[in-house]
Every structure is written in structure tokens, then in C-alpha cells.
């Protein structure tokens, strides 16, 4: 079932060879080919814009009121590229290597190398679009460092890199809308993939304003619908982020790969109470200058500023001297959990650690005083100057922290705790980003391909844009070249009829339950099961229990959910119900996947498999494969394994000490 279609030849030539030999579609034929793009984040907007530019007839869909709102916008820190502008030893190979290693050797070499190759084009493209990246005084691009790397290769626009990149892609997309190459359907949600003779030929979408179901034909369907972190209810994802598009594809036969690989981001603002609806990330870039610590004494109730230096445990610097506070996300998250579980947590909930800027403020203050050629500067002045520097670098993040917590992070250390942030798993795709359903593609976070078991910081933006700008325009053409003889299919075709009926039946079923519990309450319960038993640490017993609980929750949901309002109108509860129903099913699969992966790697940490020092214990002999799950029936999946062959890199135990 799984053919990754990786081109032969040496790793560094694969993509060039592929591009040199792939089939092309001539401009006159492109005009006749229709492409559906679901989701308008970095992957979707860049794909829709690039395909529109090439001349395809594109229809793009998003559930938000504008494509500019997709959750890529919230990415803060930056985007990696192997430009080596800093002359610090970076290269395509180094970026490729760091990404594979960061992913704990569970990603495909060929895909990752391609990603590293096109990374430099992305920066050029974005600059040309007018993305205002940070610059040095000489007018050249600035870089910062990020977790899991020893070079400075991250390009950024203050703490709003995702926003700037998305707006660049959004503008390119709107330009194509203006030129008539792309038709935009906002406030639309895809609720079914239409397949004809085994090929994806369209979708059923619901207009979220009128509630009407619509049929849309496409010679190909691209799912760029993001990740499924919201299965945990509390995550750094947007409230609307959902798995529905990917899950519908899964139900139509697309294999779902590595669903248990979820990334828990170490620096988020801790939960403040039961009312919490989402978690807010504090950019990983803060770990560049901030120091993470907990008190050396258990259950220390003193204020952070009252704890003297010698009674603080800078546990990341202690455990990982080589990378210190810049260890990869999974390592940093687990270390925080370990300290909190051991009773060293801080804050009222004791589920938090400190991220302290006092040292950085002093350090920057001294540099600033030095720059101004001043000696004999008082400590207060140094601190004031240091605060100004920190404000210039991280001001918006600090402001955000203060708004949410009511505490001033320039004066007291921030409290942080890990939270669900990104999902490495997703729809299984081959080298061409095609799923196991012909004609159906998955791009960006919606696919599984590039980050293995753990994603490095500033790589999500890179992957989304790589897929959309530079990969899909070639690979889609290679496949659509065979479709030039197939005419557009009328949406009166029985397959569309049937698909629409299925959607409408399910919606009616949901509306007719008329139970007692709100959609939100089910979502919260699902999230709790997932976080407790399939979160930062998992074990066999917990996972088995979780599967049972989720199955029971599913029954309860389908017999007692309450959705007010009507079908044929804007109905936000119905929208949520459609999504939560899919999350419940996905949750079960995630636990099944976590249960069968009897090793610890990257974001997947099985308590049974760890080294004596508590580090993840990978099992390369038994588990060096991608788990691709095929749906066989309710609660039934078949596992297909795609072996990972490392031809260039030799997998070793990740060591950040």
C-alpha cells in the first residue's frame, strides 16, 4: 500500500533529478485543470497562489472569515534557512542533518533534504514579496539562534514571523483572486472528500454562514488544513484549528501516519484555572536569552526574587551543558515535567518553572553601557538600559505575558509550562505529497513527512512554505499531466450526490440527538483523557485505559450532545460538534499508535522505555518505520509500516549534553 516514490540516485541530486524529469502540463492545459485547496495557512495560501500563477483554476477554502487568519499567523519565532549569511558553518547538509536528528531519526531523508534545499528559496521569495524581516544596520538580513542547533539560521520579524510570512502568502493569494485565477471561499468548511473510481475528484463543503452544503469539483484536492493539536482541548492552536479535513480523507482511505507524534512546547503560559480555553505560547526565541530554573528546595513557597542564586537549580544548564537552555523542545518539556512531578514546581498550581531574564537584562545593560563608552554606571542604570534592549527584542512577548498573567516579566521571572503545540503526525504522503488516495494531497502540518518524531523550532514555517511554493507546483504537475484528457465532472454525478447525502445525514443525526451536554464539555473531557494518558509521557496501562474511555466518550457524545439552533443558518455549535466528533475518533487512533510504538522517540515518550538517566530510549532495530494507519471499520485500523532507510545519516542516540 505504501510507495514513497523516492527518486533514486544520490541524496543531494534527488530533487534536482526529479524536477529535471517530472512531467509538465502546458499552459493551455493548465487552464482546464481545476485544483481544490483546503486551508489557507502558509502551505495552503502559498500553494493556491503558486498554482494560480501557473495558470491552474484554483478554488481555495478556509473556515475563517479571511484567509489571512489561518493559524500560521500565530507562529512567533522565525523560519530556518540554510543561507549561511552568518558564516558560522551552516549549509544545506547541516540543516538537513539537524532536522533529521532533531526529529529523532523518524523522518524520511529524501523529504528532509529537499526541505533544506528549498529553504533558501523561501527566504528570497518572501523578501521579494515584501516580508519585512529583521535587518541589521547595514540593511542586510538578521538571524537568531533557535533550539536544537548550533548555528544562527533563523530569519525573523520580531515575534511575529508567522504573521508576516502568512500575510506575504495571503497577499500573493489575493493577487491571484484579483486576477481571476483563484476563487476564494471563506467561512466554508470541508466536510467530505468526493472520490470517483478511487481518485479524489472534489469535496463537499458547508457554507458556515448559510449552512448550505456545496459540491465542488477538482482534478486534485490539496489538504493544507494544519495539525490536530486541539484534540487535547488545551493547546496553543487556534480555537478553530481542527482535524476534520484530514480525518474525512482518512475515512475515505488516506492512511494516517504517526498520529502519536505530538510536540509539547516547553515555553507556554501555565493554565490558570478550569475556565481555560486555550494556551498561549511564549516564543522559543526567549530561550536564547532567558534562563530556566526551579528552586533547589521542594515546595518552596518564597517569591522568585527572594530565592538567592545558590538556591536555584538551572536544571537545563546542569543536565545539558552543551546546549543548555537551547535543547530541543521535547527534551526541554520533559525536563520541566520531571522537575514539577518531583515537587519543585512553582506558582500556585506548582505546574510551572521560571524563565528568568534578570541575567540577560544585566548582560545587555552592560553591553549597552560599553557601547556608550560609559564606566561608573550604577546598577539601576544598567538594568534600565538592559530592559530597553530586552524590550526592543522581545517587547511584544513580554507585553502579552503581562496581559495574560497580570505580572510584569521585566521585574519577576515568567512562569512557564509545556503545552501541546504542534503535531508531527498527519496524513501519510509520498515524496510527491500525495496521500494513499490518488489525487488527494496533504501539505504543511497536515502531512507527516518532514519532522519525524519532533520538530525543531522555526521549521514549521519552513515546511509549510516549502510544500506550497516549491514542491507542489512540480509534483502536482507530474500527476496532473495524465489528467489533461479527463474533463471536469459535473457535480450532479452520483458520487457527489452520495457524498452530500452522507454529510447531510450526519449533520441531521447530530442535530437530532438533542441531548443534555454541550459540545465543549465533551471536548474538555476528551482533552483531559489525552493529556493525562497520551500527553508528555505515556505508558501501556494508561493508553489501554484511554482507548476504553474514548470509546465510551464517543458513545456518550453520539447519544447526549446538545446542539441548539438550526442547520440552515450560522451555527457555531454545529461547526464545533462536527469537529469534536472527528477529534474523538482521532484520539483513539493516537492512543492505538502510541501503544504500538514500544519505544521512546522525540515527542513520544513511553515511560517503559527510558535510559537510567531518564532520557528517551529509542529502538531503531524494532521501530525505525513510519506507522501508517488504514481505517478498517469502527475502532479498527490496520498498521502499514514504511521502513526508514538512512543512507547518508547514521542514527545515534541524540545527545545534547
Amino acid at each position: 500500500m505504501l510507495n514513497a516514490k523516492i527518486p533514486s540516485g544520490p541524496l543531494e541530486n534527488k530533487w534536482a533529478d526529479y524536477k529535471g524529469h517530472c512531467k509538465l502540463v502546458n499552459p493551455a492545459n493548465k487552464r482546464k485543470l481545476e485544483v481544490i485547496v483546503v486551508g489557507t495557512g502558509l502551505a495552503g495560501a502559498s500553494a493556491a497562489a503558486s498554482l494560480g500563477e501557473l495558470g491552474y483554476k484554483v478554488k481555495a477554502f478556509c473556515f475563517q472569515d479571511s484567509p489571512r487568519r489561518a493559524h500560521s499567523i500565530a507562529a512567533q519565532g522565525g523560519i530556518n534557512a540554510a543561507k549561511n549569511y552568518q558564516n558560522d558553518g551552516d549549509s544545506v547538509f547541516r540543516l538537513f542533518y539537524d532536522t533529521i536528528k532533531g526529529g529523532d531519526y523518524r523522518a524520511r531523508e529524501a523529504n528532509v533534504h529537499r526541505l533544506a534545499e528549498v529553504s533558501t528559496n523561501i527566504i528570497d521569495q518572501c523578501v521579494a514579496q515584501g516580508v519585512p524581516f529583521a535587518r541589521e544596520y547595514g540593511g542586510l538580513l538578521s538571524n537568531r539562534s533557535f533550539g536544537g542547533t548550533q548555528v544562527q539560521r533563523t530569519f525573523y520579524a520580531a515575534g511575529q514571523t508567522g504573521q508576516q510570512l502568512l500575510i506575504g502568502a495571503y497577499q500573493a493569494l489575493e493577487r491571484q483572486v484579483a486576477l481571476g485565477n483563484v476563487t476564494m471561499y471563506s467561512r466554508h468548511e470541508m466536510l467530505e472528500v468526493v472520490t470517483i473510481e478511487g481518485k479524489a475528484k472534489g469535496i463537499i463543503a458547508r457554507d458556515l454562514v448559510s449552512g448550505k452544503l456545496e459540491r465542488h469539483f477538482g482534478h486534485a484536492v490539496l489538504l493544507c488544513s494544519g495539525g490536530y493539536g486541539n484534540v487535547f482541548y488545551l493547546s496553543t492552536n487556534a480555537m478553530g484549528s481542527n482535524v476534520t479535513a484530514a480525518w474525512k480523507a482518512h475515512k475515505k482511505g488516506a492512511a494516517f501516519a504517526n498520529p502519536c507524534f505530538t510536540q509539547i512546547h516547553p515555553t507556554c503560559i501555565p493554565v490558570s484555572g478550569d475556565h481555560q480555553s486555550k494556551l498561549t505560547l511564549m516564543s522559543e526565541s526567549l530561550r536564547n536569552d532567558g534562563r530556566i530554573w526551579v528552586p533547589k528546595k521542594q515546595n518552596d513557597t518564597r517569591k522568585a526574587t527572594d530565592i538567592p542564586e545558590e538556591e536555584r537549580d538551572y536544571y537545563l544548564e546542569r543536565r545539558y551543558p552543551a546546549f543548555g537552555n537551547l535543547v530541543p523542545r521535547d527534551v526541554a518539556s520533559r525536563a520541566a515535567k520531571e522537575r514539577c512531578d518531583a515537587g519543585y514546581g512553582v506558582g500556585s498550581s506548582k505546574q510551572a518553572v521560571y524563565l528568568d531574564y534578570a541575567d540577560a537584562i544585566l548582560r545587555y545593560g552592560k553591553i549597552e553601557a560599553g557601547k556608550q563608552g560609559r564606566s561608573n554606571v550604577s546598577e539601576e542604570e544598567i538594568i534600565a538600559m538592559g530592559k530597553d534592549v530586552v524590550k526592543a527584542k522581545y517587547g511584544n512577548l513580554f507585553d502579552m505575558y503581562e496581559k495574560i498573567t497580570g505580572e510584569n516579566p521585566y521585574e519577576v521571572p515568567m512562569r512557564i509550562y509545556p503545552a501541546v503545540h504542534y503535531t508531527m503526525g498527519g496524513l501519510w504522503v509520498d515524496y510527491e505529497l500525495q496521500t494513499t488516495v490518488p489525487g488527494l494531497y496533504a501539505l504543511g502540518e497536515a502531512n507527516f513527512s518532514d519532522h519525524g518524531a519532533n520538530r525543531l523550532g522555526a521549521s514549521a514555517l519552513m515546511q509549510g512554505l516549502a510544500d506550497g511554493y516549491f514542491v507542489i507546483p512540480y509534483t502536482l504537475g507530474n500527476n496532473l499531466a495524465d489528467e489533461i484528457y479527463s474533463k471536469a465532472i459535473e457535480t450532479t454525478h452520483p458520487a457527489f450526490e452520495e457524498a452530500e447525502n452522507n454529510v447531510s445525514d450526519r449533520i441531521n443525526q447530530l442535530m437530532n440527538i438533542k441531548g443534555k451536554q454541550s459540545v465543549e464539555s465533551f471536548h474538555k473531557r476528551l482533552g483531559k483523557i489525552m493529556w493525562d494518558k497520551c500527553g508528555m509521557a505515556r505508558n501501556k496501562e494508561g493508553l489501554e485505559q484511554a482507548i476504553k474511555e474514548i470509546q465510551a466518550l464517543k458513545n456518550e457524545f453520539w447519544s447526549d450532545v446538545r446542539i441548539p439552533g438550526e442547520v440552515n443558518e450560522m451555527n457555531t455549535e454545529l461547526d464545533k460538534a462536527n469537529r469534536v466528533a472527528d477529534f474523538i475518533e482521532l484520539g483513539e487512533l493516537m492512543c492505538v499508535d502510541a501503544l504500538t510504538r514500544e519505544e521512546s522517540c522525540g515527542g513520544h515518550f513511553r515511560e517503559e522505555y527510558q535510559t537510567p538517566e531518564g532520557e528517551a530510549l529509542r529502538d531503531d532495530a524494532g521501530h525505525m518505520y513510519v506507522s501508517a494507519w488504514e481505517l478498517k471499520g469502527e475502532h479498527q485500523w490496520e498498521l502499514h509500516k514504511e521502513a526508514l532507510n538512512y543512507e547518508v545519516i547514521k542514527p545515534t542516540q541524540r545527545n545534547y549534553k
Binding site: 528570497d124 515584501g130 497577499q171 484555572g273 454541550s518
Partner: protein, 254 residues
């Protein structure tokens, strides 16, 4: 920071759809924590309404971290509520006290018709961008990112303008329902960069024409937009747009 709980009266605009007339409904919510965000307080209200068998209040929201620009409530006479440089989703309940009455309205402007309750249609903003808010560069056309050094001040000012989240608070705050701050942020973002130079004149002309077509009002420089903008986009951008517009019209060929 002292935490506390409060009971509140909410006066919320309810409107079934664009074509029906709406009115205010009053609700009580109890035991709201000062640590909640404003939208989490609305989640509580909606849970309460669902339990009582009523329809929940429809409102736009997504990222809940102040960057997507989707949330859009006009709270006690100010877009996004009482805090400065803030979005509704980042407004926290410690801004209020026990017994307060909070009036919540949708953005009001003909160019932003109400879809339902507090949800409005802001697609006019997308159409303004379509009119020229971009740099025409197809994928693959780019030269090396460092081939064109950009003066740091210009890059910084361009970024400051590009921070606009397109929420529409400027329109909601403006007595003229003008979209000039939104428009000027985009014009400034692109006009300050050398990449934006080739389309500089046509961009400002076409975007202003589209803004007028969408039914936004004219700017009278009152500054309400700047005062309410969650990203503190400066009024200076409007002056820059005017300069761009004047320059473009004076140098037009026909």
C-alpha cells in the same frame, strides 16, 4: 496580583441574521474569575445559554492570542474593550469589577454588515487587498534576499505598519467608518520597501478607489483609529498614504 470573582450584567446585541433586525438582550453571569479572558467569560455565558436551551451568542474568534485579528467586540463603547493596544481575546476580566454592566456590540459600519449577533462580514478588507495590496512577484522570480539591502529605519517602519492584523477596529472606532488606517498600513508597509516601488502609484490609487467602492467613509484625522488599534498602527501612515496618493495623482500620465 490579587485574584477575585465577580458577578456581571451583560447587555449583548443579538441579531439572527443580516436581514433581520436585532436588539439588546441582558444576561447575568456569576462567579467570573478575574483571571479569565473576556472571551472565556463569553464561553461561560454560552455554556449557560446552551443549558437553558437558548442559542449561544455567535462571535468571531480564533487564535485567542491577539494576532489573527478575528475577534471583534465593541465593549463599553470601545473596540476591543478598555485596555490600550489590545484585542478582545487578550482582554482579561481583571479589567472589570463585581456588579459591572458590560455593553457588547458588533463592529458597526455599512461596509461590515452583521452576519449574526456579534459576527460581522469583513470581506471588504480582502477586496481592498485584492485591489493592490501586494507585490507582483510570482513564485520563483526572486533574487537573493540580501541582494537588496534595506535601510533599517525603513525596514522597521515597514514592519510596524505590516503588523496590522486586519481586525477592523479602526473602522469600528472611526466616526466616519473610514478604513484609512487599515489601508494606510498596507500602503506604508509596501511603499517603504524597494520591492514595492514598481507598483507604488497604481497601488495607492486602486486601493483607495476600492475602499470608496466598499462604502467606507473618508478620513478626518480624528485619531480614534490609532487610539484603539491593537497593534498601535500610527496615524502617520495615513499621512503617508495621502502623500503617496497626491504624488501618484500629480504624476499620473492622463
Amino acid at each position: 496580583m490579587e485574584h477575585y470573582h465577580m458577578n456581571l450584567n451583560l447587555k449583548v446585541w443579538r441579531q439572527k441574521n443580516t436581514n433581520t433586525k436585532g436588539d439588546f438582550k441582558t444576561y447575568q453571569v456569576k462567579n467570573i474569575s478575574s483571571e479569565m479572558s473576556f472571551l472565556e467569560m463569553f464561553d461561560v455565558l454560552n455554556e449557560q445559554l446552551i443549558t437553558e436551551g437558548e442559542e449561544p451568542v455567535a462571535f468571531d474568534h480564533d487564535c485567542r492570542e491577539g494576532i489573527c485579528g478575528m475577534c471583534s467586540m465593541y465593549i463599553n463603547g470601545k473596540p476591543h474593550g478598555p485596555w490600550q493596544a489590545n484585542t478582545t481575546c487578550q482582554l482579561h476580566m481583571r479589567a472589570f469589577k463585581d456588579g459591572d454592566t458590560i455593553v457588547v456590540e458588533p463592529w458597526r459600519a455599512n461596509a461590515f454588515p452583521v452576519i449574526k449577533d456579534l459576527t460581522v462580514d469583513r470581506s471588504s478588507f480582502d477586496r481592498i487587498i485584492q485591489a493592490g495590496g501586494y507585490i507582483s512577484v510570482n513564485t520563483g522570480n526572486a533574487v537573493d534576499g540580501n541582494a537588496l539591502p534595506i535601510n533599517k529605519d525603513n525596514a522597521d517602519n515597514s514592519f510596524a505598519a505590516a503588523m496590522c492584523i486586519g481586525c477592523g477596529a479602526c473602522v469600528a472606532a472611526c466616526k466616519n467608518s473610514s478604513a484609512m488606517l487599515f489601508l494606510s498600513a498596507k500602503v506604508s508597509h509596501l511603499a517603504l520597501l524597494p520591492q514595492g516601488e514598481p507598483e507604488r502609484k497604481s497601488r495607492v490609487m486602486n486601493m483607495v478607489a476600492q475602499m470608496d467602492k466598499e462604502g467606507f467613509g473618508a478620513c478626518t484625522n480624528t485619531g480614534a483609529c490609532e487610539a484603539t488599534c491593537p497593534k498601535e498602527i500610527s496615524l502617520t501612515n495615513i499621512a503617508r498614504l495621502n502623500s503617496e496618493y497626491l504624488g501618484a495623482s500629480l504624476s499620473a500620465d492622463k
